[in-house]
């Protein structure tokens, strides 16, 4: 059993080290490798895209609230606060209109 225990302990140490190294590599790749391409793209288009959807189905609100901060989806909201709008539900982002532009509209 002693040998097996030592092997398992080693396995856990290797596992944790591997996880930490993989995370460190991931951080490095995001900051140093992938970021360049993203920066170039965003500079080129003037900043497009913010939410967890890759095309503006239904409306632009979850794609990029800068382009359309108003949710004019006809199915939003429905009773219970749920929406069938796919960019509203099972994604990791959710943009709500921020009521800040209520400055004095003098025009």
């Amino acid at each position: 059993m002693g040998k097996k225990i030592r092997f398992y302990l080693l396995f856990i140490i290797v596992l944790i080290t591997l996880t930490i190294l993989a995370m460190a590599w991931d951080q490095y790749s995001w900051k140093r490798v992938q970021a360049d391409q993203m920066i170039t793209f965003q500079r080129m288009v003037g900043g497009v895209g913010m939410g967890a959807i890759s095309y503006p189905i239904w409306n632009f609100i979850n794609f990029d609230p800068r382009i359309q901060p108003v949710d004019d989806s006809i199915t939003w909201p429905i009773p219970g606060g749920y929406s069938y709008s796919p960019d509203r539900t099972a994604t990791v982002s959710y943009f709500e209109e921020i009521p800040v532009n209520q400055l004095s509209l003098k025009k």
Binding site: W30, A52, I67, D87
Partner: protein
Amino acid sequence: MNKHLNFLLTSIGNILRNKVRSLVLILCLIAVLFPFVTALSISEGIKFQSLISVEEGADIYVTSDYFGSNAPISLDYLEGFRKMDGVTKVYPRIVGRTYFVNRLATIVGILPENIPPSIRLAEGGMFREKGEVIVGKGLAKEFLLQPGVRFSLSINPSQLFRVSGFFDADASIWSANLILMSFEDAAEFFQMKGKATDILIYTRPGYATKLAEKIQEGAGTSSHDRPEPPLRVQDKTLVKRYFQRGFNYKAGVFTALYTVAFALAIPALLIVSGFGQTERKKEIGVIKATGWQTQEVMEMVALENLIVSLTSAPLAVLLAMVWLKWFNGAFIAQFFIAEIGLMAPFPVPSRFLPLPCFLAFLFAVVLTMVGSLYSTWKTATIPPVEAMR
């Protein structure tokens, strides 16, 4: 110290001895932690891309406000904005949507002057002539596009485009279904000459908020005699607030949902960890009868749980990493990024930050501890003869 080391090694021995129980427990924990780690890492990946989009975007976005919604803005405003103090660059942009065959695509029209001198595309080159466009990798892959291929789009099928190049797949998820063309081509395509969807203003550092207020109040627009609708001005501060709220809210929702899921998983894990509990109870009785103290039994069981958690959490993180990086989040990414189907047409962004991974470990520890410490304590505090029965 030796005593604690003994307990640690014995707890590992116990895990190895009760192979089936340990394996079921570890697999259950991985099954619970894997979607959690996946969701948060995808969220972090998109968040990172989103932050670049915010940081590298314009300082101020100006559109018209038609009945409370964003609306096209006249190009007449450009000159007025350019003359404002603190403004470094002003250019119009068109962002719209149309269908590429049956797939919705984002059209972005920009002035060629805005394109940085050294850009790197996955294939082909930057558009130079009228009708040339750069296409996202998602569209290119789906419709087998090659540089030089000509196509037309709905809304205005009479206008022909020619693929000059493709965006790099890693550019961001929003480049996948995007078609970039010159501002003129976009205006012609949408038949909105003299209009832009928004005007992008770049300012010197520290000027953005003041300028946004000025524009909102009407500065730079006073030369217009004809009545215009009010302007909608979004500065970087507002956009950053969108960014923060948009992600924090959902990350919070996910964490809350998973906390509930974990809470519900505790009884399930109690049952799973009760796998062989009668044998366990007897073991505790025996070791107590041979002179172990309750706290020593608890320490050994806690160490067992810690080892199980230290096995499960890194395995869940590594599995999520392998699944997202090598298999591009097949089947699972669709639950976190809308409308991508079983196999995402672009590299699913995933970023493994220490905090969510640590949180996963913490959840595993809490789950296993709650699942076993109380029952162990209960068993260890009754007379050993009862536990051995």
